[in-house]
Subunit: 492 residues, 2 copies
């Protein structure tokens, strides 16, 4: 059916067309369905139905589709219900239990990147990966496909390295410390991180308390070439862009899909040019990975993928049974990091030691001898702190590090919960601590979150246990209620 184009200055985030309800009925499409649009080119788009905006003879185009079709207001375009795309046929094949080839994954990922698949179709793809067996060969193919469809970085230096934690542990903000130590030791660390999805803060949220984290690929290269490292948000760089969309659909159900986790992490690291990769797999009861056996099983898959791409990898199997560090929430975590980098005696020991060991593992992977001693020295000497300052200043294009640190402020309302008597802390539930922080306003309110005065072990009567921070009295009250009901900390 030929329809008259009405261009809207409307950034819908993907190619969307607006149809009148009567037109939609005529061509037998519903909201969310796909139509094919054809003038000299042919593109696919998702249908939105909005009777007040277009008449029966018109079609409204989002900016994205206007650009793709290069089409003028008032011209005609042929609109028809789209048959299943090649990618949807392949997703159906995977749902039916078949194995897909590298070429086939490439078609699916390309259609995800060009917005040709609806979120429901991406959900089918994720569900198929989750419920049908994905061979390691398929995971490798998926990783290749994800790399192929995105930007790539290259650095001249030999030791381009990266670290990644599979997550699930509250606090655990080792990345800024490990990156600073390793960069000071000469490694090249183009570190990109994510924002919080379900946790109290992501590394990007924490770094953002001091510095700009949204920089372009070319700026990133400049900073890394000058300072050996950066600490930026990976979301806007276009490295493995399909991943952002897949994660968006995965998080609807907070699904953990192993093959997608493997491909997601490895594609981002390899796209960023890394040749030496450390993966931190925390494990423990109640975490993402419960046992060491499960952790090793996952670790071995990372190794097989790394081998296929000819990159060196080391897996750190770490304790995931409780939060790492004292502060949880963007500013609270940054304060812990600064204490560690400045060798403050009150710095959280667990965060410090874990960071040193991870840095040592990565230095060792890059051929540096006595790596543990070296990592410790770099931190103790203040070199890591200097490196961290340089990175922050470079990302801010200003030497304003000290001012920025002074501006770090905790949220104005707080409430400290104390131990009622001499007790033993037997468990600190990572998920519940994260939820508690979300209730308090993290990561949106950067100064909100919790401070854990103690980790697992003995606590005396009247000793401080946990302090809640929030910008709202009401949220403090809500968090207290949650705390009482859900007991994120078990005392015995």
């Amino acid at each position: 059916m030929k329809l008259k184009v009405k261009n809207f200055d409307w950034l819908a985030g993907r190619p969307v067309v607006i149809l009148n309800n009567k037109t939609a009925k005529k061509i037998n499409v519903f909201q969310g369905d796909r139509v094919a649009l054809q003038n000299s080119k042919k593109f696919y788009s998702i249908v939105d139905i909005f009777p007040k905006l277009v008449s029966e003879k018109e079609i409204g185009l989002s900016t994205e589709i206007t650009k793709l079709l290069d089409i003028k207001q008032g011209s005609l375009v042929d609109v028809s219900p789209a048959p299943m795309s090649p990618a949807s046929i392949l997703i159906k094949k995977k749902i039916n239990g078949k194995t897909l080839t590298e070429k086939e994954f490439s078609i699916i990922i390309e259609e995800i990147v060009t917005n040709n698949l609806t979120e429901a179709e991406i959900a089918y793809f994720i569900a198929a990966q989750k419920m049908q067996n994905m061979t390691i060969k398929e995971s490798i193919s998926l990783t290749k496909a994800m790399i192929k469809q995105g930007e790539k970085l290259e650095f001249n230096s030999k030791y381009v390295a990266d670290k990644h934690c599979i997550g699930g542990i509250a606090g655990n903000r080792t990345t800024p410390i490990v990156t600073s130590i390793c960069a000071a030791a000469g490694l090249t660390m183009p570190k990109t991180s994510s924002r919080a999805i379900t946790s109290a803060a992501g590394t990007a949220d924490v770094i953002e308390t001091l510095s700009n984290v949204e920089i372009s690929l070319s700026e990133l290269k400049q900073i890394v070439n000058k300072h050996n490292a950066c600490l930026v948000w990976g979301g806007s760089l276009g490295l493995s862009p399909s991943d952002d969309k897949i994660i968006q659909v995965e998080r609807l159900l907070n699904l953990d899909v192993e093959s997608q986790l493997l491909a997601s992490i490895m594609s981002k690291k390899i796209s960023a040019g890394s040749k030496y990769i450390l993966i931190d797999i925390p494990h423990g009861p109640g975490g993402k990975i419960n046992t060491l056996t499960q952790a090793k099983n996952l670790g071995n898959k990372f190794k097989q993928i790394a081998k296929a791409f000819n990159v060196k990898i080391i897996i750190a199997y770490t304790d995931g049974s409780q939060p790492i560090g004292n502060g949880i929430g963007p500013v609270l975590e940054m304060l812990d990091i600064l204490k560690v980098l400045k060798n403050d005696p009150t710095a959280p020991k667990d965060l410090k030691e874990k960071s040193i060991h991870l840095a040592s593992d990565l230095l060792n992977l890059c051929g540096q001898k006595n790596s543990l001693k070296k990592a410790r020295e770099i931190l103790a000497s203040g070199k890591a702190y200097e490196k961290f300052k340089d990175i922050i200043n470079a990302q801010n294009k200003s030497n304003n590090f000290d001012e920025k640190v002074k501006e770090l402020k905790l949220a104005p309302y707080k409430k400290t919960i104390i131990s009622p008597e001499d007790k033993k802390i037997t468990k600190i539930d990572n998920k519940k601590i994260n939820t508690l922080c979300r209730i308090l306003g993290s990561p949106e309110t950067i100064g909100s979150g919790v401070y854990l005065h103690k980790h697992k072990g003995k606590i005396s009567s009247k000793q401080d246990l946990i302090t809640l921070y929030s910008a709202s009295k009401l949220k403090i009250k809500e968090a207290e209620e949650y705390y009482k009901k859900e007991k994120p900390i078990t005392l015995k």
Copy 2:
């Protein structure tokens, strides 16, 4: 975050809110995510991002959500990213291979009906049903949940009956004939049908060539009470309303999900008040069901569900190896139906005999003796034809049946393909015939489609094989090309 309400007179089809991109970023939601809206009530809604329509401090509401929240322009509403809904947690449980209870299916179906689940979440639900085992008990629970969330019909008569074909066969328009025979024999047949999804025509499309098919539940009751039957579109009646949404997501990949098929069919029939149900399961190579064993396996599941709801059921295992009837496309099929009902000697014998046998099965199920003879007599006597006329006139609220029949017109362009020499037709592919009709313009152009001059068996040199009908010369050409390339009819 508190935002100022801007009500749009915008029927989005579901509760949608429009956020500015900056606001969305602040509260950490993406397009398609869910937010919770709270004033004195609490509702969920899907996010659309449209920077030009609302400022950072505003939120645009679709008509649906304005009504739900009962909220005025300019008032404030608290907006926060929504945690996973109870239904999404249950869908995840099913993805993880667990069995769900009746209560749990009820929660999922309720959230589908109230638009609280995104299409991606519905896709996860469908995928979980497809890839994890669904016990017969779960199918029964799902059916119950689907019935519970919709409208129900009740009739005073004892023999409220229905028939349903699981589909996949081109032509095969037995419903109007079976309904007319059975209604004439005294059964009550509140027949609701669907429009075409991927086929050339649905029963509702075919009936619509003569009559209005979109009527209200109260009109439906009046017509059935007066004439024993109706032949309407089921889509707008609100019987098992979750089904329409589920089908919309299923058809993205044209997935056949057995548990959903069972629940979908049975919930609609039972909601319509039927106590006697005939299910036609065509089987044959290339169809939805390939073998009699598979057909019986499915048939037995229908029987188990019927037993749980205390309704009588009979399964007809029929030949699904080729199209039924000669015409395929809305008008072409109606012409076949009229020939059968009018006892025209040129009526397609396969359609006539199949309809008589199905009617006989249903009469027999309702306790009528000598049902085959009776069905044949009712058709031969013209009583079925009279009943059909009454139904059409009642649905049109006018005695215009004869005029309507005169207005039936085939599409203006046609092309007949003949057999090149003496041959045998060994196969007619249902799917390819449907695709051919879609290319020719069915079901949108009601007079388009194909006429099969012969079914499987011998054909002489130069004898007519198939005629293509379309409103466009170009489409005739396209269809010819498809015919040559895909060979929907195999000659040997």
